[in-house]
């Protein structure tokens, strides 16, 4: 997408995954191209990890077709070009960080030297530390190192920055961005909106096993074109939910957060309802609001269709 020379890395055609009668993903059509970061967003249990699982060949689709580098995802020639960071994942407890990276890198012909991998993952100082003596965030860094050590053309990251401090997150984002800029395709499953906003060239929203939105971050935001109003009131939140233009009302701490498609009307009505309104602020909806609204709308529509 970033250049005319982008290549198709992975393709899902009508792909679905079900466990018995429970359909986790249904009829997914998706193409992943090189040189861009694609964020996979959606509520917990929406099917993000399953989506990544189908694409990487970790899970087999029950329906449709999945191809990776033009091959079956379980083909070793496809796997040789992919680096994966799973959501959960232990490490060989008694090996050192450098040994664990070196072992994994050895599977790839295009491996990077271990010191270079450790440097990029911010692990140089921990090279000699045993893996069972790492913190949660440090463990994630090693898993990231395992994902990048084979110079992959496709990097799949499932909730990569869990347990990170802000500096470590930004450092990892920089590396991920650099990988995409040098031509790799990155698929990032996350539920941190700021992560998607900071990194993604494209956002795919999954809810209830389907893709409900797909586009650049700005387009996803514009799709709802909503305004967020935050205010403090002593009245019940439901009263505000009924105001003109309001599509969502949530209690956030002591505040009430309204998402509206008609901010002026909403504000006028809100003051009429409670003249003692305090602490209010108005802002363009964040990506998080947009996402919540999208998912909600999708559910409501689905319910209406089902009724």
């Amino acid at each position: 997408m970033t250049s005319s020379a982008s290549l198709i890395i992975a393709m899902l055609e009508g792909a679905g995954k079900a466990y018995g009668a429970h359909r986790v993903l249904d009829g997914i059509d998706f193409t992943l191209e090189s040189g861009a970061v694609t964020a996979l967003l959606g509520p917990n249990g929406a099917g993000k990890s399953t989506f990544a699982g189908l694409l990487t060949g970790r899970l087999r689709a029950n329906s449709g077709r999945v191809s990776l580098f033009g091959r079956d995802p379980s083909d070793r020639l496809a796997r040789a070009r992919m680096g994966v960071m799973l959501q959960a994942g232990g490490l060989p407890e008694t090996l050192t960080v450098a040994e664990a990276v070196d072992l994994h890198a050895g599977y790839f012909a295009r491996r990077q030297p271990t010191p270079a991998v450790l440097e990029q993952a911010g692990l140089t100082a921990l090279a000699g530390r045993r893996c069972d003596r790492l913190s949660g965030g440090e463990t994630r860094k090693v898993q990231f190192a395992l994902a990048i050590c084979g110079s992959p053309d496709l990097l799949v990251l499932d909730e990569p920055t869990t347990g990170f401090d802000p500096d470590a997150r930004r450092a990892m984002w920089d590396v991920v961005r650099a990988k995409a800029d040098s031509g790799a395709a990155v698929l990032l499953a996350t539920h941190h909106m700021d992560e998607a906003e900071a990194l993604a060239d494209r956002i795919v929203v999954i809810a209830d096993g389907r893709i409900i939105a797909d586009g650049p971050p700005a387009a996803i935001k514009a799709e709802v074109a909503a305004t967020a109003i935050r205010l403090r009131t002593r009245l019940a939140g439901e009263l505000f939910h009924a105001l003109p233009g309001v599509v969502r009302a949530d209690t956030v701490g002591a505040d009430l957060s309204l998402l509206t498609i008609a901010p002026r009307l909403t504000l006028e009505a809100a003051f009429a309802l409670d003249p003692a309104l305090a602490h209010f602020e108005v802002a363009g909806a964040s990506l998080e609001d947009a996402l919540a609204n999208l998912v909600n709308t999708n559910r409501t529509t689905a319910l209406k269709e089902a009724a």
Binding site: R79, L86, G89, G90, P92, T94, H104, R110
Partner: protein, 252 residues
């Protein structure tokens, strides 16, 4: 893109994976020492302390305890271990890499072999102290049978580890361990068991290996070799299928 530029040469991967497996276990002494030390400790008790200096009894016990010595590292070391690695997601990550599937199994077998051989060395040393005297050719055959025992037990351990969680694997491995030792006649001849239980021995690799080890030291009629080598080959093949299908079932 050419195959050769994408996939690392297999022999190097096999070697590195095996080395890592040995290092991993060697750094867990609290875990590996009991599995290695138990058979020599039992042997010292049975053959040295209670054997009243009978070289014949010491030789018989050495033959069967060599088979017993493989079972600890194979079943506990690598059966229970692989279950833990599977639960923690480590195997999943390896499966998503271009690592050849066989490298995992080969590495586990190699590590079982190394730790079994430490146990053999301890046993043989104790045997010599207890008065075991064998011809060079008998030692060669005995070491051969004991080494051969590594394969079926490592494969059985793997098959269990691929199927069960860590806790379940440890429970099952304990039962298999005891059944193989007792019903296979490794601790005492199966002749002392009820006849119905003696029949079970024919399905156990421990029984056939124990008998073959006794042939190696001249305590059984070597003419009966195929009576045990045949069933052992079949059992080993079944164990290989058990391990391989366990590995295959990781794909969902």
């Amino acid at each position: 893109m050419m195959t050769a530029t994408l996939i690392a040469p297999a022999p190097a991967v096999y070697a590195r994976e095996s080395w890592a497996e040995i290092v991993k276990s060697a750094r867990m002494p609290q875990f590996i020492i009991p599995t290695i030390a138990l058979p020599p400790a039992f042997y010292a008790l049975f053959a040295l302390a209670m054997g009243q200096g009978s070289a014949e009894a010491a030789t018989r016990t050495l033959a069967t305890f060599g088979v017993f010595a493989v079972m600890g590292p194979a079943l506990f070391g690598f059966g229970a271990n692989i279950a833990a690695e599977r639960e923690s997601g480590q195997l999943e990550l390896k499966r998503l890499s271009p690592m050849p599937a066989g490298a995992q199994i080969a590495a586990k077998v190699a590590a079982t072999a190394v730790f079994s051989m430490v146990a053999f060395a301890l046993l043989y040393a104790l045997g010599i102290v207890a008065g075991v005297r064998l011809a060079a050719s008998q030692w060669v055959m005995l070491v051969g049978v004991h080494t051969l025992a590594i394969l079926p037990f490592a494969l059985i351990g793997l098959g269990i580890g691929y199927r069960l969680g860590q806790k379940g694997a440890i429970a099952v491995v304990n039962i298999v361990f005891l059944a193989m030792a007792v019903l296979g006649g490794l601790w005492m001849p199966i002749a002392v068991l009820p006849e119905a239980m003696q029949a079970i021995a024919w399905a156990l690799p421990s029984y056939h290996l124990g008998e073959m080890a006794l042939m190696a030291v001249g305590q059984r009629e070597a003419a009966n070799l195929w009576l045990h080598a045949g069933p052992l080959a079949l059992i080993t093949l079944a164990a290989a299928l058990f391990a391989w299908s366990g590995e295959r079932r990781q794909a969902r």
